[in-house]
Symmetry: C2
C-alpha cells in the first residue's frame, strides 16, 4: 500500500459553498474535530489520531471543513506551535503507518490545508490580507477580489533503468547510507514525461527515452503530488550535479531486494515504507520476475 | 501528437543562478527574444512565432531567461496588453498547431511564467512587494525572505468507460454541440487516481473503479499539468451536478470515431486537436481495436 492513499473522506465539495449544510454539519452532535499542533496530529496512547467532540474547539478558533467520513462531519483546527512545512517529527511516519489508511489520508489533506493558510494570508496579486471562504478551501481578497486556492505541486519521482539495474541517488543532507529514486518539481510548460527526462539528465547526466507512469501519492510536506515513473536510460554513464546529489549509482536487482527487506549489510538504506519511492522500488523489483 | 509537448528547450536550470552565464547569454549576438502581447506571441505572416534580436528589447524591460534551443539563448518579455489568464484569441490554437512543436512548447512555458509574475507580485506570506530572481523562475520577499515559485496545478482529465462506451460531458458555457472528457483539479491530500474517482462521482454521479494513466500535457491557460486517464465505471447511471455540467452521455465507439474525424452530422463536436482530450479519445478508440 502506498502511504497517504486509500482515503475514505467524502470531501463534499458542494457543501463548501452551502451555508445551511455547513451549519448542519457544525451542529451535528456526531461531528468530530482533529487538532493539529505544530502541524502534527494529536494521537492517543494507542497511536490513533484523536477525533474529539466539536465542543472542544477553542472559542476563538474557526475550524476548516474536511468533509464526511463514514457519514460523520470532520473538521480540523490548528492549535499552538508553528511546525516546519517540510519537516516532521521522527515518529510521525511510524504513527501514520500504523493508523487506518483513511485517517492518514485525511491527515495529509488537513495538514496541507492548514499549512497553506498559514503561509498564504495575503493576496499575491495586490498584497492585501485575505480571508478564508469555501469552508476553508479557498481565500478571497477584499481589495482586488482575486480568489486563491491551495497549491498542489506535481513532483516526478523516477527510477531510470538500464540493463537490469536502476539509478539511485542521495542528497548530502540525508542519513548515511540512504539512497532513493531521483525526484524533482514539474515546471510550467512541460509534461510529466518531459520533467522526468529533464530531471534525470540534470541531476545525473543520464539520458532517458521512454517513460512509464506507475503510481501516485499525495505528500503533505507541504503539499506535493508525487508522480512515480520508470524511465528507460539510453546510457549508463553518470555525470553528477553535485549541488543536487552527493552520490548516485546503478543498483542491481539483488541490491534492491536486500535494501527493501532491510537485511544487514544491504548495499543501501531504502526509503521509508510509507514513501512512494519504496513502492516504486518494490514495483520495479516485481517486474524483474 | 499532444499539443505543447515535444519541447526542444534546454531549460539550463543551473544557469538561472549563475550571473556570469546569464550575462554571457544576454551578450550572445545569437540570443533571441520572444515578445508576448496580452499573453499571446508575435507571429509573422507565415504564422511562425517571431524570435527577434535581443536588441529590440525595450530599454526599461527585463527579459526572463527561458534556456537554450538549438544552442541559442532564448528570452521572453511581456509588452502591452493584459490578456486573460484563462482565455485565448480564436486563432491562437490554430497558429500554435501549425508551428514547430518546440516553439509551441516554449510558448507554453513562457506564457505561464509571464502570467504568474503578473498575478504574483506580492508575498502571500506577509503582503510585501516581491522581486524576481533565478532569471525569472522565482520571486523573493525582501521583508520575510519567503521564496515563491511558479504554480503548476495538476488537473485530472478522464474518460470513464462502461460496456464499450465512454462518458462525455459539456459545460453550459461551451459552444453548442461540444462535448469532452470530464476534468477537475487534484486537491491537496489525494492521489491522481483518487481525484479521478472523486471528480467523476461529483460531476456525473458515476462510480469508478480502476484508473489507468494514459498521457500528460502542459496547458498554459494559465498553468495546468493535464493528467489524462481512462477509468472503469462500475455503473452507467448518470446523476448530473448541473452546477458543473449541462449535460453528459455515454458515447459509442462509432460516435467517437465520427466526432474525431469531424464528419457532418456527428453526434458531438470533439475538442480541438491540440487539447489532450482529443488525444485521449483517439487513444481510447484505438484500444477498441
Amino acid at each position: 500500500m502506498i502511504g497517504f492513499t486509500r482515503g475514505t473522506l467524502d470531501r463534499a465539495d458542494r457543501e463548501r459553498d452551502d451555508p445551511e449544510a455547513l451549519a448542519a454539519a457544525l451542529a451535528d452532535p456526531a461531528a468530530r474535530l482533529l487538532r493539529l499542533r505544530a502541524l502534527e496530529p494529536e494521537v492517543d496512547a494507542a497511536g490513533l489520531m484523536v477525533w474529539d467532540l466539536l465542543e472542544t474547539l477553542p472559542t476563538d478558533a474557526t475550524p476548516l471543513f474536511l468533509g464526511y467520513d463514514a457519514g460523520v462531519p470532520r473538521f480540523v483546527v490548528a492549535l499552538d506551535g508553528e511546525g516546519s512545512p517540510t519537516s516532521r517529527s521522527p515518529n510521525l511516519m511510524t504513527v501514520l503507518a500504523a493508523m487506518p489508511a483513511g485517517d492518514a489520508a485525511t491527515y495529509a489533506a488537513a495538514r496541507s490545508l492548514i499549512d497553506w493558510h498559514r503561509r498564504h494570508g495575503f493576496c499575491a496579486n495586490c498584497g492585501t490580507a485575505t480571508a478564508p471562504f469555501r469552508a476553508g478551501w479557498a481565500r478571497r481578497c477584499p481589495a482586488c477580489a482575486a480568489q486563491h486556492f491551495p497549491r498542489t505541486d506535481p513532483v516526478v519521482i523516477m527510477l531510470a533503468e538500464h540493463d537490469g539495474r536502476v539509478l539511485l541517488g542521495r542528497q548530502a543532507s540525508w542519513a548515511p547510507g540512504r539512497y532513493s529514486a531521483l525526484a524533482g518539481f514539474v515546471e510550467v510548460g512541460e509534461s510529466l514525461e518531459e520533467a522526468v527526462r529533464r530531471e534525470v539528465l540534470e541531476e545525473a547526466g543520464v539520458p532517458v527515452g521512454a517513460v512509464r507512469y506507475v503510481a501516485s501519492q499525495p505528500w503533505p510536506f507541504p503539499s506535493q503530488l508525487m508522480l512515480a515513473c520508470v524511465a528507460e536510460a539510453t546510457d549508463d554513464r553518470i555525470s553528477l550535479d553535485t549541488l543536487e546529489l552527493e552520490d548516485a549509482f546503478w543498483a542491481t536487482r539483488d541490491e534492491v531486494a536486500g535494501a527493501l527487506t532491510r537485511v544487514e549489510g544491504a548495499r543501501f538504506d531504502a526509503p521509508p515504507d510509507y514513501a512512494i519511492a519504496y513502492s516504486l522500488l518494490a514495483h520495479w523489483l516485481d517486474a524483474q520476475g
